[in-house]
Amino acid sequence: MKRIVLAAVAALTLGAPAALASGEGDLAAQSWSFDGIFGQYDRHAMQRGFQVYKEVCAACHALKYVAFRNLADLGFNEEEIKAIAAEYQIADGPDEAGDMFTRPGRPSDQFPAPFANDQAARASNNGALPPNLSLITKARAHGPDYVYALLTGYRDPPADVVLGEGMNYSLAMPGNQIAMPPPLTEGQVTFADGTPATVEQMSRDVVQFLAWSAEPTLEERKNAGIKSMLFLALMTGLLYVSKRRIWSKLH
């Protein structure tokens, strides 16, 4: 017990400040299906979020480390994954003649990046670099809430704020200026399941997808967690009983 309290105290007093260090603006805590001990991803939301990524964000942002075959986690079957992969052109080679070539994607390929390198990405984005999104929800404090707040937090700048060239006013971004133009507008994508594509809806869904891409093993982890905790609790209980029995001979 003491140990648990100690760990909690240490974690609270010492870990929390790190989490509060970045992200000043308006960070309302959202509730996510993947929060909590039993939290899991929402397959429908992820599929919609994938569509948002594919049709909107992918123009500027890479999704490093994620392979098409990983989309099985979203509930796509093998055929669907093959079809999705084939929509992309992947650089490959050299072939027998020593030339590089492009070919349609395969499930084992990773999502190709939209730009060949950082310089090209900056050149097309007014000097700003769109970061890889596959870790973004872990690379920002309160990541899912932050990305949601970022996508829904574009406003007209207050009269006294002078924005830098090509910058947009954002409630969420530290410093309130962001080089990314508002990526989402009402009705920008058409969801196959008929969900109305409001900015809030698309933002929530793309956060589901990005949270998965940052931590694809979350469900496996939580499932293993329950089993492990139950096992350890039982084991610890038995160890306690055996300790008590051994010591009872003494007194």
Binding site: L14, S22, Y65, L135, R140, S228, K243, I246, W247, L250
Partner: protein, 406 residues
Amino acid sequence: MSNSYRGSAVVRWVNDRLPIFTFLDHQMRDYPAPRNLNYWWNYGSLALVALVLQIVTGIFLAMHYIGDARFAFDSVEHIMRNVNYGWLLRYLHSNGAALFFLVVYVHIFRGLYYGSYKSPREILWWIGIVIVLAMMATAFMGYVLPWGQMSFWAATVITNLFSAIPLLGQEIVAWLWGGFAVGGPTLTRFYALHYLLPFVIFGLVFLHLWALRTVKSNNPLGIDVRGPQDTVPFHPYYTSKDYFGMGLFLLVLAGFVFYAPNYMGHPDNYIPANPMVTPTHIVPEWYFLPFYAILRAIPDKLGGVIAMAASLLVLFVLPWLDTSRVRSARFRPIYKVIFWFLLADVVLLGYVGSQPAEGIWIHIGRALTAYYFFHFLILTPVVGKIERPRPLPQSIAAVVLKGGKA
């Protein structure tokens, strides 16, 4: 001797050729431990559990990790995504390191409270301090390995401290870096050392236990063992208690690993290292924060480094700074109070270390740092002199058998 060993035929066959069972018996069953050890005495064996866990998970991580600045970050993500149970290995290793420190810090404060550093346990205490220093070096270098933003900038800040050394500073830093800035060579050598040091720690733990076997455990009363009535065999009494403690430890560890694996980490370390972008706040892992606060409390770089080093080195001379011959704080009314003040001081220092070094925090940090040294250099010797300890009990058995709090 060895052939008289009881047990199955196989056990006896082995024991006649390699008396390993006799040896274990001798170490565990015949080893007398004070009968009144409380749960604060569990943390030593927990530290060993944590060390073994770090080594085991570390070796498996090393099978997939790539100690090259171009691939390090990607290889960690590969572990997290593609290696079977790679996420488990990595989260065990990163959270395990943090809990390892928590356990060792409790272990140290246990020693401070019950006067375990006093004669005849000075060398045991020293080895312990050397272990903490080696752990710090190991954890620092381990933190550099994922090669995220915090890895890179922590490495930059900490290695730069050596430049404060007069005359040779710059040379030493360049030598540590293997170049003119933190870079590929730095990462690769840190990996080599990160692999090596835990085994050095293992050797130190062996010395630590050897010294312990020689001088025997202290106990909550802080009085010497007078005879067999004061002790119980280590096995099965303390082994059973240590196993129970281990169960609790693993539960806490599992709680973090499965439900809050990045809670103690910093989000910036999921951004690949980038020498061109400095994070707004460079903060070390929580277990270094008190020392970080002491470092920053002194306005001069060299002074800060000296203060930080001194904050640990002062523990080496503590056995002589403490002028009281009574070990346990239980019988030391004034020392008991200043012990809790010291603990509060260190926790607050940790908090200050997490805050930006500006405004009021600078002053608070300085006051807490001053108090830290005041505690060891002034209060401890003076209190030992002026305090009137409460009368010590006759023996451990006398207290335990009376059913008193022992």
